[in-house]
């Protein structure tokens, strides 16, 4: 449960961006959360709203883009999205595949109104 720390880091970024644009109001912040980032989107949204509530940042929306887990098969050099529990390569059936994506915890964009 470190979503509150993550939400707080997102708000720090929003504030530092807002300082660069005096008079503008940040209305929306877009983040990308990977399936194995360890961050639970619902808890993040909850923590985010709690931190924003009652501050000058209101109203501020959080938009979360989910990134699926991806694995790469070194045997046949194939990268695939993991849709079920199995991590085996759907092309050559090798069971030894490497984590290739889904750990994202990225700030993608801000929307501001002047």
């Amino acid at each position: 449960m470190h979503e509150l720390s993550i939400a707080s880091a997102i708000l720090d970024a929003v504030r530092s961006e807002a300082e660069k644009r005096p008079g503008a109001h940040v209305t929306k912040v877009g983040v990308r959360i990977g399936a194995v980032s360890g961050v639970e989107p619902e808890a993040l949204s909850f923590g985010f709203s709690a931190l924003v509530q009652g501050t000058d940042l209101e109203p501020l929306a959080l938009v979360i883009e989910h990134v699926p887990r991806r694995q790469r098969c070194p045997a046949c050099d194939f990268t695939f999205e993991v849709t079920e529990d199995s991590l085996s390569c759907p092309r050559c059936a090798s069971g030894e595949t490497l984590l290739a994506g889904g750990e994202e915890l990225d700030l993608a964009y801000l929307e501001v109104e002047d």
């Binding site: 449960m1 880091a9 970024a13 961006e17 194995v36 360890g38 070194p74 595949t97």
Partner: protein
């Protein structure tokens, strides 16, 4: 309405401090390892067994993270090496800034090895780089063997898996072959050590692993 593209990591501030720590560790020839497990897997016991094997005057120090109490640091300080508690006051992981602050009054030139015992948690510590040379994940046989599948990120990022409490195997339903298989499924080629802090099994291999890693740190330092 304007859209400003940021395209940076949410934890870029943590990563910046971690990079600074990593440079400092390298400059001082320090091997820093970040030990991560669930609560109760035996991190502190492993550190006790580790510290008692070091000769007096060995250049080793320990930082230990907990939400509350300095019990672990007190347990570890008995061995005569620097040991400091980082009490996070509710936060479920250590971050790079807390580590940097804790190290501020320690002369790094007196150290060769720094072991960071993270807060007991397999999820959150995985996101926070502490500037370590290697993450080490520990799993005890009193837990489920499917932990690597449930917490893939930390198993994918850790160089070494320590299977602790191996002496309890006859009394629990833990399937050690499965645990190894799952770990290597998540992290092909992952190094795995079987250890018991009670009987001492595997502790030689563990200290050898540290020595080997330390030589590698010296070569690059």
């Amino acid at each position: 309405m304007d859209r400003i593209l940021l395209e940076k990591k949410v934890l870029s501030e943590n990563d910046r401090v971690a990079a600074r720590l990593r440079v400092s560790f390298r400059e001082h020839g320090i091997l820093c390892v970040n030990l991560i497990s669930s609560p109760g897997s035996g991190k502190t016991s492993l550190l006790e067994r580790t510290l008692e094997r070091f000769p007096k005057g060995a250049r080793v120090a320990v930082l230990t993270g907990d939400i509350q109490t300095d019990n672990d640091a007190r347990r570890l300080a008995r061995f005569g090496f620097p040991a400091k508690q980082i009490t996070t006051g509710g936060t479920c992981h250590l971050d790079a800034l807390r580590v940097e602050r804790a190290l501020a009054d320690w002369p790094l030139e007196n150290l060769d090895l720094l072991i960071i015992e993270n807060v007991g948690n397999l999820v959150c510590p995985s996101s926070y780089d502490l500037g370590e040379a290697a993450k080490i994940v520990m799993l005890s046989v009193a837990e489920g063997e499917d932990k690597p599948l449930k917490y893939p990120s930390i198993f994918a990022k850790s160089e070494l898996l320590i299977l602790n409490k191996i002496d309890l195997l006859p009394y629990v339903s833990f399937d050690i072959a499965r645990a190894r298989e799952y770990a290597r499924q998540i992290h092909p080629g992952m190094e795995i050590l079987e250890v018991s802090c009670t009987t001492g099994q595997g502790l030689d291999q563990w200290t050898q692993w540290l020595e080997k890693r330390q030589e590698a740190a010296d070569l690059h330092g």
